[in-house]
């Protein structure tokens, strides 16, 4: 899924969990919602000339976008537990895990790269490039509306 969807989904989800106080954790939610996708950068730089034609399949990810990365980042979050407020660390962990989960559900991945190159796809998204694009735009728009409604309830 795209970066905007990840951020909006995580915000709405966390806001529901923390009882409407997610706004005070906005920087944490934003950073940890998009952090994992920084691992796409080496791939994007490699294919920068025809980036539009390329797909974001398993080849676009590094090991940090798979189980290896999840283990390392979880370990770092355990260390952060002793340094930061538990609520902040907990929200950061939740945002990262939601990102991993949504990406795992929505596309192809090599979950145990570099130990195994076996590709796994749960096939939960519609097939075909056009259908996927429509689905991404639609779901992002729905999350945008939900995000807007949460913000409105904050203002009112």
């Amino acid at each position: 899924m795209n970066l905007i969807f990840h951020f909006l989904f995580n915000y709405v989800f966390v806001d529901f969990i923390v009882g409407g106080t997610a706004w005070s954790y906005l920087p944490v939610i934003f950073i940890f919602s998009v952090l994992i996708d920084l691992t796409h950068l080496p791939y994007l730089l490699r294919v920068r000339k025809n980036v539009i034609k390329r797909r974001f399949g398993s080849e676009s990810r590094t090991r940090f976008h798979e189980m290896y990365g999840l283990a390392i980042i979880s370990f770092l979050l355990c260390a952060a537990f002793f340094l930061f407020d538990i609520m902040t660390v907990s929200i950061a962990a939740l945002c990262l895990l939601l990102h991993f989960s949504l990406d795992f559900m929505s596309g192809k991945s090599m979950p145990f790269y570099p130990y195994s190159k076996r590709e796994v796809s749960l096939g939960m998204l519609p097939y075909g490039y056009r259908n996927k694009v429509v689905f991404e735009i639609g779901s992002t728009a729905i999350m945008g509306v939900l995000f807007w409604l949460r913000i409105q309830s904050l203002v009112l």
Binding site: I17, L77, S90, F112
Partner: protein, 106 residues
């Protein structure tokens, strides 16, 4: 995800959801074995789904479960590399704690 959402609303509902998750996970493996439909791809999908589900559950009840979840992530990788399934049944332990806890408190 539903477990986490219902955690603040109703402990009973979240307990039922956790039980259903474990039951479906067990049933999924059992069906694959019974009909000889097991594959490496399915095994990997099952392992990753289990870890992600655990991670989401334990990120909201951080200490000490998230630490054990982290250990489980490393154990999962070790299981794949060594081809020996060694995983901590953390969701089962949580379910058992949920059931036992009222008796312990009394």
């Amino acid at each position: 995800m539903l477990f986490v959402i219902f955690l603040n609303i109703s402990a009973g509902v979240s307990l039922i959801l956790l039980f259903i998750t474990i039951l479906l996970d067990w049933f999924d493996g059992l069906t694959a074995k019974k009909f000889n439909r097991g594959s490496e791809e399915g095994y990997f999908a099952d392992l990753v789904s289990d870890r992600l589900s655990e991670g989401i559950i334990f990120s909201v009840m951080f200490f000490p479960f998230f630490f054990l979840f982290t250990a489980n992530c490393f154990l999962t990788i070790w299981s794949v590399v060594r081809k020996r399934h060694v995983i901590l049944p953390l969701r089962h332990i949580l379910l058992a704690l949920y059931v036992i806890m009222p008796f312990l408190v009394i």
